[in-house]
Point group: C2
Chain length 201, copies 2
């Protein structure tokens, strides 16, 4: 299943990913990619047929990484709901601080490539252990009875949206990048608390 990539292919993919993340599909040219990866222009088509195909490969891998990080935690058998919240916040915030363009890229290029990429999602979140645990809490009367989609959506919203709107936050608070990141580190503790307060009766 997993393709073995040559050194040159990896160089192309790395440069392409960096550029696609920063500038998006349309604003990235094949010459940009060839320059950034220091390979001849024609090799892009030689190895990946077209810019579009190359993009689809990168989009698929990136989205898969993005979702996997969530699915792994959500389906862990041992941890409690609260532990899952903490781990998700922590992992995601670290991941996005390391690659700040990731969320904008994912949500933005997503609306163009619908079904093929979204196949990855197939029930892995709404049928996760985390949602089970939430539903158990509802049954026991400790959590409010609301469609779990809100629960799942709220977690991701509180984690990811601040990054997407970082230019606004940075402007409003006169932050520099480090101060913004500190704010996000702070949220690792806060988000699990907030989510619990939101669902508790």
């Amino acid at each position: 299943m997993k393709k073995e990539y040559s050194e040159t292919e990896i160089k192309i993919k790395t440069a392409a990913k960096s550029l696609f993340l920063r500038k998006g599909y349309s604003a990235t040219t094949t010459r940009d990619i060839s320059k950034e990866s220091d390979i001849n222009l024609a090799l892009l088509n030689y190895y990946f047929t077209s810019k579009k195909k190359l993009f689809e490969i990168i989009m698929l891998e990136t989205f898969y990484d993005f979702i996997s990080k969530m699915v792994e935690v959500y389906n862990d058998e041992k941890s409690t709901l609260e532990e899952k919240l903490k781990l998700t916040s922590s992992k995601y915030i670290d991941m996005i601080i390391a690659e700040p363009h990731l969320p904008t890229f994912v949500v933005n290029e997503l609306k163009n490539n619908p079904s093929s990429i979204l196949k990855i999602l197939k029930g892995q979140i709404m049928e996760s252990k985390l949602v089970d645990q939430y539903n158990d809490g509802v049954k026991k009367g400790v959590y409010k009875k609301i469609d779990p989609i809100h629960f799942v959506t709220n977690i991701l919203s509180l984690i990811v949206f601040p990054f997407i709107s970082s230019p606004i936050i940075i402007k409003m608070k006169k932050f520099n990048r480090k101060e913004f990141n500190d704010m996000m580190h702070e949220r690792k503790k806060l988000i699990p608390q907030w989510i619990l307060q939101m669902i508790k009766k």
Copy 2:
């Protein structure tokens, strides 16, 4: 201050806005715009000098509308904090349902045009009546003492992010567009409740 636009200029602007919102700056061509607005290609440059200039005008207006809706409510003198939360949720959700591409457009093109557009923000949110009311609650000991930036960020996150991630939500829940919108209408009531629970001691 406000420029008076001729009929042709409005036709161009309307078509351009629709296209920029749907496809972004780079993926929209001047010929797309001329076709959609049914005007001659050269008129775009005749009236707006360049594609870039036209985009900046539209970006500025759109972002201004987007922020104004918030600022108005946040600075209302009469309403309580809870009422402001309800009104913001309601207004924003209606606005974005009417123009679903708005949030993605704003956040995505924002990172490219930083200062000029973000000037609009100048203290209008962090120094708003809403933030005052929040700080009062903190002083009175009814709200937790956390930097109000989290408060402001969380409101926007819970309102806007679900729209941005709508392809994911629609896929996870096997929703159609109407069912997704219903979910968002449901959140008009829920978000103010959630926010209050998050800040209460």
